[in-house]
């Protein structure tokens, strides 16, 4: 099935690239979505199978696959709304849809791959596809954003490759040359420690470009800012999860090796710096999309803190990954509507959102509460568990600093959102505003509802899957 | 002893060959090979004019310069025959006795009170400063490779086996040739034929000298060339018997002179701002030679 999916996904992407007919395009997209849903259902029903020797559906992959499918449906829908509200340039539209399909296929393959080299190949492909999406508007600034994204991601991919090389230097001591995660896990305690350290640093630094941590987070900020909103939603939810998968699977190997506590310190420094950077920039940023992007960095930092803390933090980290994907994507989908009303992304030009788009404003308000982890958001549950795990692991000072920084973030985020929602806009002409159909906000309500549901009353299968995903970490 | 005689013999025609090569390369016939020597003899017969702003330094500097060159020549061996002076660590003595000569020529240039000469002197000092690490690292690598610290012993026991030693040898030759060009103020670091004081380095330092002093300085240049040529020839000589080494020596000197002439004819001088970095490149390349020697020895201390 994986082979069929990959061939089908990339094939549909190629067809979308060459097609210029509207009806066929919608047909192709529906086929792609059906293929995606069918593939997810298949993998869900056949957990643990390995196909094509490199793709195995372990529980983490299944969780993220389901998340991706749930998010991809509104992504395509909002892309359709976004593109139909502008003049139709068939070539650009074709490239947009083709790259979106290719991006989703590559991300799926990266989730499923069980070999670090194959993950690396597909992460490379996601860079290619994502940059085509970012460049969609084809003006100077989006070119700049695309160039920065491509360049930083190219350097990061090279760093990951160097890490893989160092990893292979560490293998001969354990008498193997297979780079699959299962094999690495089995031989973890016998790998050469010196090379393993170097490998970890390089692989971790490389993947921070996708996940959004210090030091390579800069790629993502400009990318999410310049990409059209539905694409930005994908970039900040499922693409971040690819970075997480890359780091997490390698972290499991490291956690069973002698350098576990050293690696924890490295990740701790990166996570703390990320939250700090996010705080500093959130207080100063004036562009709504950049604010969302920096909020993603903050959440990535919190996820990593959960990994570092251990214990219940492992469970909380994975829960946070999934819930954050839902919240962030709904924020970006809503941003598309905001842009259509105000024609601007700057905080100065927006205001009084309740008057112009009631459903959208309610979504925004709820999403703000959920993103800043206030109850009843599921993110509250996961962040609470992470704080508890930090406390239990005796990282008390870290906990205090993080909570202070998060408070500042809530203030900065809230200041901007409340300006958007309640304060009247400055110099905003109220004639000619686009009427937004309230039905467009349904997808965001569903996503936010999922966040509450999965946080407060998760189904048993969900809990089992997460526990399966973290079973190899030392408890 | 024998190396001293040979080097003095070689210096008699070295400058002539260079000028002849340059002339032939530009399509002229050029002066005879012994013309520079005849110029020097003519200068020896003249009297000197000393400016009133100079002090005794200006009068004694050319003699000290010449004397330092002669002392440096006495250290150079010829294959397995020692120079007149030979002791452990004599290559350091070699470099610094030349340094004494250079120091005196620099301060005599400053002594004249002319700003042009001061400018030339500062440039000369800068270039020599950058070429010095190159020389020392190179000799250091050879010392490491052979385990001896005196010129004669180093050259006697230098032998080349593996690929990597051949490449180091070629690199060492190139670095030595370039150091020669720096020390003698030739192309591509300094143009001896330039008439503009702003672009001169060494020529401007000797603008005020005349008569016997000028003759000493000009002949000193030839001697220095022959000396460095002997140093480079030593890299190739090893431990052959005398009837091979003497012709080889002269052959190498002629080859070296022709190469210098060709180099001068066909290259332009580097831009003055960039001269420093090209000279520093020599030091970096000699550093690579050093690392290569460490590689050969299998030690990475």
């Amino acid at each position: 099935m994986t082979g069929i999916y990959l061939a089908g996904g990339f094939g549909l992407s190629a067809l979308l690239f060459f097609n210029r007919n509207k009806i066929i395009r919608y047909l192709l997209i529906t086929t792609f979505l059906l293929l995606q849903i069918g593939f997810t259902v298949y993998e869900y029903l056949h957990p643990g199978t390995t196909e094509l020797t490199y793709f195995s559906a372990d529980s983490l992959a299944i969780l993220l696959l389901v998340t991706l499918t749930i998010i991809s449906i509104p992504a395509f829908y909002h892309s359709y709304v976004y593109l139909s509200s502008k003049q139709d340039n068939p070539k650009h539209t074709a490239i947009y849809y083709a790259s979106m399909a290719a991006l989703l296929t590559a991300i799926n393959a990266a989730y499923l791959s069980n070999n670090i080299a194959v993950t690396w190949i597909f992460v490379e492909l996601t860079t290619l596809a994502a940059s085509a999406l970012i460049y969609h508007r084809r003006n100077n600034r989006s070119l700049e954003g695309t160039w920065k994204y491509v360049f930083v991601c190219a350097i990061s991919i090279t760093l990951v490759f160097i890490g893989i090389l160092f990893l292979s230097f560490s293998l001969p001591q354990a008498g193997t040359d297979d780079l699959s995660f299962n094999n690495l896990l089995k031989k973890a305690s016998r790998l050469n420690v010196f090379w393993l350290r170097l490998a970890f640093i390089f692989i971790f630094t490389g993947f921070t470009a996708k996940l959004g941590l210090v030091p390579m987070y800069t790629a993502g900020i400009d990318a999410k800012d310049k990409a059209p909103s539905p694409a930005g939603a994908l970039l900040s939810s499922v693409l971040m999860n690819v970075g997480f998968v890359g780091i997490f699977r390698f972290y499991i190997v490291i956690a069973n090796s002698p350098i576990h506590s050293w690696a924890n310190h490295v990740i701790l420094i990166a996570a703390m710096l990320s939250i700090f950077v996010a705080t500093v920039y959130m207080t100063r940023v004036k562009n709504i999309k950049r604010m969302f992007a920096y909020s993603s960095i903050e959440h990535a930092g919190i996820i990593m803190l959960g990994l570092v803390a251990g214990g219940v933090g492992y469970y909380a980290a994975i829960l946070h990954v999934i819930l954050h994907a839902f919240v962030k994507s709904s924020l970006f989908f809503q941003q598309g509507q905001i842009y259509r009303i105000y024609q601007s992304k700057s905080i100065y030009d927006v205001g009084n959102y309740f008057k112009y788009n009631l459903t959208g404003a309610i979504v925004m308000l709820l999403a703000f509460f959920f993103a800043t982890a206030m109850p009843p958001s599921g993110l509250f549950i996961s962040e609470f568990m992470i704080f508890r795990s930090l406390f239990e692991a005796n990282y008390l000072w870290i906990l205090i600093v993080v909570m202070l920084l998060l408070t500042v973030i809530i203030w900065a985020f809230g200041k901007n959102i409340f300006k958007l929602l309640f304060t009247p806009a400055v110099d905003f002409k109220e004639d000619n505003i686009e009427r937004i159909n309230p039905a467009e906000s349904i997808s965001q309500f569903i996503l936010l509802g999922l966040v509450v549901y999965l946080g407060l009353n998760p189904p048993q299968e969900f809990i089992t899957l997460i526990q399966e995903a973290i079973k190899n970490l030392p408890q | 002893m024998i190396s001293l005689i040979l080097i003095i013999l070689a210096s008699l025609f070295f400058s002539g060959i260079i000028i002849r090569t340059k002339s032939i390369a530009s399509g002229r016939k050029g002066p005879g090979i012994f013309q520079p020597l005849k110029d020097v003899i003519r200068l020896f017969k003249k009297g000197s004019v000393y400016s009133k702003t100079t002090s005794f330094i200006f009068q004694i500097a050319p003699s000290i310069y010449f004397a330092s060159i002669i002392m440096a020549i006495m250290v150079i061996p010829l294959g397995e025959y020692k120079g007149i002076i030979s002791f452990e660590g004599d290559f350091v003595f070699f470099a610094y006795v030349l340094g004494v000569g250079k120091f005196f020529s620099i301060i005599s240039a400053l002594d004249t009170g002319s700003s042009f000469e001061g400018m030339g002197a500062s440039r000369e000092a800068l270039f020599s400063m950058f070429a010095e690490p190159a020389f020392f690292i190179l000799m250091g690598s050879f010392t490491l490779l052979t385990g001896h610290t005196s010129f004669q012993e180093i050259f006697a026991s230098l032998h080349f086996g593996s690929y990597i030693s051949y490449i180091l040898w070629i690199l060492a030759t190139v670095v030595l040739v370039m150091i020669t060009m720096v020390e003698n103020s030739r192309m591509p670091f300094d143009d001896p034929k330039t008439h503009l004081e702003l672009t001169m380095v060494h020529e401007v330092m000797i603008l005020d000298n005349s008569g016997f002093d000028l003759g000493l300085i000009l002949y000193g240049t030839s001697l220095k060339f022959a000396m460095y040529g002997a140093l480079i020839a030593n890299l190739f000589m090893g431990s052959f018997p005398l009837y091979i080494t003497i012709p080889l020596f002269f052959g190498m000197q002629m080859l070296f002179a022709i190469a210098v002439g060709l180099l001068e004819s066909f290259t332009a001088r580097f831009r003055m701002n960039h001269n420093a970095q090209y000279i520093l490149t020599l030091s970096s390349v000699s550093l690579l030679i050093f690392l290569g020697v460490l590689l050969i020895l299998g030690q990475f201390s």
């Binding site: 690396w120 070119l143 160039w147 491509v150 350097i155 090279t158 | 490449i167 690199l171």
Partner: protein
Amino acid sequence: MTNVLLIIFAITLLYLGIAHRLLTYIKILALQGVLLFGIAFIELIEINAANLTFVLLETIVIKGIAIPLFLNYVMKRNRITRDAEPFLPNFVSLIIITLIIIATFILSNAIDDSRISKIYFVVALSTLFTGLYIIVTRHKIITHVMGYLIIENGVFILSLALGNEMPALVNLGILLDVFASVFLLGIFVNRVGDVLKDVDVDQLKSLKD
């Protein structure tokens, strides 16, 4: 023999530090491609023939010929001026690159694995850091791409150190190379030249907070 080629490779790094013109950079990249061809040929002689031909073809054709030609084309098409426009004078660059080589040499002594030849490690890491240094200290966007290509050459050398035992890694390295050349060069520098009139990094400063 590979040691000789690697030492020449290190000399090209030094030359990169003092080069003024962009054409010199391109020529150095081509030379590095040829050197890598030689090293790959000698190192990988034992892996199976198809793989070996693929690797050799890639080094000589893509690294040695195609990329320099393409860079040349991009330079002419965007009318990029000859100078490399560094932030720091070339003199300082030379010192820094020399220091990088010394530093990696000292670092390599921390390795006590007898199977990895140290000279590969030293040359690969110095190439990597030199490439990073060039990216950071040059004004023009095209020198960023060249710096990236130099980093790739370094990664290729590193992958050759274990090439005999795991040829798959060398193939992955080549994949990375092809990706970078096709993508970075083929699509972006063209576009960047078209849209931004002046290929200078100062133009890329408008996305700020």
